[in-house]
C-alpha cells in the first residue's frame, strides 16, 4: 500500500488541493481509506491528519471502515421511490443476503442508500463502485446479484446494465442550434473580448443553477477583481491569476440535464468556459463533476484532448496568444458542494463548507483568487450567444428571464426526459407535452424549490414567477404528498454540512417533528411548532441549503393545511413516540405478552 499511496501522491504533485482525487483512488482500490494511508498522506501532502480525516468523514463516498468489494448504493430520490425503490431494495438485500447499510460478512458486498444519482428519468437507479445502474427491476437485480455472488469483475458485466440514455425529447433555441467546436472562440476573437462581454450582458443571460445572477455582470466583476488589481499594470502581467469553474455538481434531486449536456454537448460547454476565460483573463479552469457522474469522466477527458489537438485549449489557442486549460475534478457525494463557495472549498481539498460572504468568489474564490463559478447550462448558453449574438437570445423569453430553460422532467408522466422551453411557458403546456395526466401537483426546482398544486398550472417558468435550476417532478393523484415531503426533509438533514446551528440542528429537528406528525403521533400545536421551526431554519441558516430546507414543508403546508391537520390526534397531548412499541424489548426479556404487558398510547384508547 505504501508504494501505491506514494505514487498516487506523486501523480497529484503532492498537492493538498488534490486530496479528494487521491482519496477517491484509495477508496476505489481498498474500498475504504485506511488509517495507515491517512498517516502516510499527511506526511506527503504536508497537512495535518485531521484535515484528511475530516474530509473522509464529510463526503458520503469515503469511508474509514471497509465497505464491500462491490459497493452498491441505491438512489433515494422521491422519483426512485415512485418507481418502486423500496420493494426493489428489499428484494436486492434478500438476494444478496446483506442488510441495507451493512457489509456482508464475507466482505464481498455492501448495500446502502445514496442521495439522488441523477437518473430520475430511468430509475430506479443505483451505483456499483461508482458506476450507474439504471432501470432496476427484479430480473436486473437477479442478474446483478448473480454477478456479485460469482465475483465477476465490473468490466465483464453486461453493458446494458450501465446503459444511460439522454432521453432528449424537446430541443429549443440552445439544443437545436449547437455550435461547431471553435466557432464561439473564433467569433470572440473576431469581435473582441470586451465586445463579446457586452453581447453576454445584452443577452440578459442569468445563471442557470437557479439563483439567476446576471452572467455578464459576474464575468465583469471577476475581470475587474478586487480593488488592488485596479492599480496593476495589465501589460506587465502582474494581475492575480483568475479561475473559471464549471459547476457540474448537479445534486438537486430530480435534476439530470447537466448529465445530458456533458454527455452530448460537452464541446460547447468547454467552449463557453474558454470564452469566459478569454474575457476575464484566466489561464486555468475546472470542471467540478459530481462523483455520481464518474461514468462521464473518460469521455470528457477525451474531448478535452481533442480540443487541445485542435488548438482550442492549451497554449496559444487558435494562434491568438491566449493560454487556457481545463482540469476535471470529481466530487465525492455531497449535495452542499453545489453551493459555489462550498464547491471551491472542495476543490481546495477540504470539507464542502460554504464560506462567509463577503468576500464573494468573483474577488476571492479558488485559492483566494478572483473566480467565476457558473452552471453547465450557463456556459452552454454563453457559447451560443458568442456565436449568434445577444439578440438571438434576448428576443425570446420574458422581460426578466431571457432565452430558454432546459428542464429535467420526471415522475408521473409518459415521457420523462430533457425538455427545453422558452421562459414564460406555462406549467400546463409542459405537462401536456410530457404526457402527464390526473396531476396532483409539480415540484418545481427540486426539494429546495416550490410545490405547486393543480390549481396553479397556469403559472409560468421564469425568474419572476417559478425560478428553477431545472428539476421538474410530477405527482399524480394516486400519490401522498406527505411521502414526498418526508423524503425531501430527510434529504436535507442528511446533506446539511453542519457548519451553522440553525441548519445542523434545525434540519434534524424538522425531520423529527415531521416524522412525529406523519407517523400519527402529533397533537394540537405540533403543526404550529413545525411551522415555527421552519421559519427559524429558513431565516437564520448560513447558506441556501438551510434557507430552503424547510420549503417542502412550508410550500405544502400553505396549500394543504388539512392534510397535516388530519394526521393529528384529536387530543391536546399525544406522546411523541410509540409507548407500546417501546416496551417490546422489556416484554421479550420478561417473556411476557399478556394484556398487562401492553400499554395504550392515550387515555382515550383505554376506554
Amino acid at each position: 500500500m505504501r508504494r501505491f499511496i506514494q505514487d498516487l501522491a506523486e501523480e497529484n504533485h503532492n498537492q493538498a488541493t488534490h486530496l479528494l482525487q487521491i482519496l477517491r483512488a484509495i477508496q476505489t482500490r481498498y474500498h475504504y481509506v485506511p488509517m495507515d494511508a491517512i498517516e502516510q498522506l499527511a506526511g506527503l501532502l504536508h497537512i495535518p491528519r485531521t484535515q484528511i480525516i475530516s474530509v473522509v468523514e464529510f463526503y458520503s463516498f469515503f469511508h474509514l471502515n471497509p465497505r464491500g468489494q462491490y459497493e452498491l448504493l441505491i438512489s433515494d430520490s422521491i422519483t426512485d421511490h415512485m418507481l418502486g425503490k423500496i420493494n426493489l431494495t428489499g428484494y436486492l438485500a434478500k438476494q444478496l443476503n446483506v442488510a441495507v447499510g451493512a457489509v456482508r460478512e464475507d466482505g464481498v458486498v455492501s448495500l446502502d442508500n445514496t442521495s439522488c444519482t441523477g437518473m430520475c428519468d430511468q430509475g430506479p437507479a443505483g451505483l456499483v463502485n461508482g458506476y450507474p445502474l439504471t432501470r432496476l427491476d427484479q430480473p436486473r437485480i437477479d442478474r446483478i446479484a448473480d454477478l456479485i455472488n460469482q465475483q465477476r469483475p465490473l468490466n465483464e458485466w453486461p453493458r446494458e446494465l450501465f446503459q444511460v440514455n439522454d432521453n432528449l425529447i424537446k430541443s429549443g433555441l440552445l439544443l437545436g442550434h449547437t455550435i461547431a467546436p471553435g466557432e464561439a472562440l473564433e467569433a470572440t476573437f473576431k469581435r473582441g473580448f470586451q465586445q463579446t462581454l457586452a453581447e453576454i450582458n445584452q443577452s440578459g443571460l442569468r445563471g442557470r443553477g437557479g439563483a439567476g445572477y446576471t452572467t455578464g455582470l459576474k464575468w465583469h466583476l471577476c475581470y475587474e477583481g478586487p480593488e488592488e488589481d485596479a492599480f496593476c499594470d495589465i501589460a506587465t502581467q502582474k494581475r492575480q491569476p483568475r479561475y473559471v469553474i464549471c459547476n457540474a455538481d448537479e445534486g438537486e434531486p430530480g435534476t439530470f440535464k447537466d448529465r445530458v449536456l456533458l454527455n452530448s454537448f460537452a464541446h460547447q460547454v468547454f467552449e463557453g468556459m474558454t470564452v469566459c476565460a478569454a474575457i476575464i483573463d484566466a489561464t486555468h479552469g475546472f470542471l467540478y463533476l459530481r462523483g455520481e457522474y464518474l461514468f462521464l469522466y473518460d469521455k470528457l477527458q477525451t474531448i478535452l484532448g481533442e480540443r487541445r489537438q485542435a488548438g482550442l485549449l492549451g497554449n496559444n489557442i487558435l494562434g491568438q496568444g491566449f493560454d487556457f486549460d481545463i482540469e476535471i475534478r470529481l466530487g465525492a457525494g455531497a449535495y452542499i458542494c453545489g453551493e459555489e463557495s462550498a464547491l471551491i472549498e472542495s476543490l481546495e481539498g477540504k470539507m464542502g463548507i460554504p464560506r462567509n460572504r463577503p468576500p464573494y468568489p468573483v474577488t476571492q474564490g479558488y485559492l483566494g483568487k478572483p473566480t467565476v463559478v457558473n452552471n453547465v447550462e450557463t456556459f452552454l448558453a454563453a457559447a451560443g450567444i458568442a456565436v449568434y449574438g445577444s439578440d438571438w437570445f434576448a428576443s425570446v423569453g420574458t422581460e426578466k428571464s431571457k432565452g430558454t430553460k432546459i428542464l429535467s422532467i420526471s415522475g408521473d408522466c409518459s415521457q420523462p426526459g430533457i425538455y427545453e422551453y422558452l421562459f414564460g411557458t406555462t406549467i400546463q403546456a409542459i405537462l401536456n407535452d410530457c404526457g402527464a395526466a390526473d396531476v396532483l401537483g409539480v415540484q418545481v426546482g427540486g426539494p429546495s424549490g416550490t410545490f405547486i398544486s393543480s390549481q396553479e398550472l397556469n403559472r409560468k417558468l421564469a425568474f419572476e414567477d417559478l425560478a428553477t435550476g431545472g428539476s421538474f417532478i410530477i405527482f399524480n393523484n394516486t400519490r401522498n404528498i406527505l411521502d414526498a415531503v418526508h423524503n425531501f426533509t430527510h434529504f436535507f438533514a442528511h446533506e446539511s454540512c453542519g457548519f451553522c446551528t440553525p441548519c445542523r440542528v434545525g434540519t434534524s429537528l424538522l425531520k423529527k417533528q415531521l416524522d412525529k406528525i406523519v407517523e400519527g403521533h402529533g397533537s394540537a400545536g405540533d403543526v404550529v411548532a413545525l411551522e415555527e421551526l421552519c421559519q427559524l431554519v429558513k431565516n437564520h441558516s448560513h447558506c441556501g441549503l438551510g434557507q430552503t430546507a424547510a420549503n417542502p414543508i412550508l410550500t405544502t403546508l400553505e396549500r394543504y393545511p388539512e392534510i397535516y391537520q388530519s394526521q393529528l390526534k384529536k387530543i391536546s397531548y399525544e406522546p411523541g413516540f410509540d409507548l407500546d412499541g417501546a416496551l417490546e424489548t422489556a416484554r421479550r426479556m420478561a417473556n411476557r405478552n399478556d394484556a398487562g404487558a401492553h400499554l395504550a398510547q392515550t387515555a382515550e384508547d383505554h376506554e
Binding site: Q51, S54, T501, R504
Partner: protein, 239 residues
C-alpha cells in the same frame, strides 16, 4: 469625519475593515455570541449574533460595517430567535448544568440566562458522546461540545499547533484531535496552551482544578454575560 452605522437607532462610529460586531463592542453595545472571540478569525457558525442589516439577516461577527447600515440588534424578534438557536445547542448535546464543573463560568449557560431561556423547547437528541480523559492534564467531554471551533482556532492561531479539528457532516459533526490514536494524550497539547482554556462550555476542562472556585463565586454568578463580554472583549486598537 468618521464613518457611522446605526444600531437600534443609536449612531456609532466604525473604522474601515471592522465588522459590525467589532464596531458594536467598541461602542459598548453587546451582541450575543458564542463562536466569536475578538482575538481569532471570525467563524460565523453559531448564528447567535444574527442581526438585521437594512432588513437583511447577517452574522454580526463576519459582516463588515459599511456606511449607511441600519442595524437591528436588540429586538423582540431577534431575542426570541436567538433563544431558540441556544435551545438547539442545548438539545443537540447533553448539557446538564447542575453536574457540570463549568456551571457559573459557562458562556453557553450565561447566554441562555441572558436570553431568558427557561426550558429546552425542542426534543432532546440524547446523543451518545464520549469522554477523553487520556491526557494527564486536560480532558474532553464531547457531550458539551457546541462546534464553535474556538479550540481549533486557538491551537492554530495562538499556540502554533494543530491539536483540534471538527470532522463529520451535519448532525454527526464531532471534535477530533490530531493523534494517530485519536486520543488527546498523544497530541502535543500542553496545559498552558490557550486552546486548553478557551472552551466556552465544559467540553474542555483542566484536570485537578475543578471547583477551586465554589459555585456562587463564579463569573456569571455575579454579572450578566453582556457586562462581562463588554469589559473583557474590547477590540485591541494596536492591530
Amino acid at each position: 469625519m468618521s464613518k457611522t452605522i446605526t444600531i437600534d437607532g443609536r449612531t456609532i462610529p466604525f473604522e474601515e475593515g471592522q465588522t459590525i460586531m467589532e464596531a458594536a463592542t467598541a461602542a459598548g453595545i453587546y451582541i450575543p455570541h458564542l463562536c466569536h472571540h475578538p482575538e481569532y478569525t471570525p467563524h460565523g457558525s453559531c448564528k447567535l449574533c444574527t442581526v438585521k442589516v437594512n432588513g437583511r439577516v447577517c452574522s454580526a461577527c463576519t459582516f463588515p460595517a459599511m456606511e449607511g447600515q441600519d442595524v437591528l440588534n436588540d429586538t423582540k424578534e431577534l431575542r426570541d430567535d436567538r433563544r431558540k438557536i441556544t435551545q438547539m445547542l442545548f438539545v443537540e448535546g447533553n448539557h446538564l448544568c447542575p453536574g457540570c464543573e463549568k456551571s457559573g463560568n459557562c458562556r453557553l449557560q450565561a447566554v441562555a440566562y441572558y436570553l431568558n431561556m427557561l426550558d429546552n423547547h425542542f426534543p432532546h437528541f440524547y446523543a451518545k458522546r464520549e469522554i477523553d480523559a487520556s491526557h494527564p492534564d486536560v480532558m474532553i467531554d464531547h457531550n458539551r461540545c457546541i462546534f464553535c471551533t474556538l479550540c481549533v482556532r486557538a491551537s492554530q492561531q495562538k499556540d502554533g499547533k494543530d491539536v483540534f479539528a471538527i470532522s463529520g457532516r451535519g448532525i454527526n459533526k464531532h471534535l477530533i484531535v490530531n493523534a494517530q490514536s485519536g486520543l488527546l494524550k498523544d497530541t502535543n497539547l500542553e496545559v498552558a496552551d490557550e486552546a486548553a482554556h478557551i472552551c466556552p462550555t465544559g467540553a474542555i476542562l483542566i484536570k485537578r482544578t475543578g471547583f477551586q472556585v465554589p459555585i456562587g463565586q463564579r463569573i456569571y454568578d455575579h454579572q450578566e454575560i453582556d457586562q462581562v463580554s463588554l469589559e473583557t472583549e474590547h477590540p485591541r486598537h494596536d492591530e
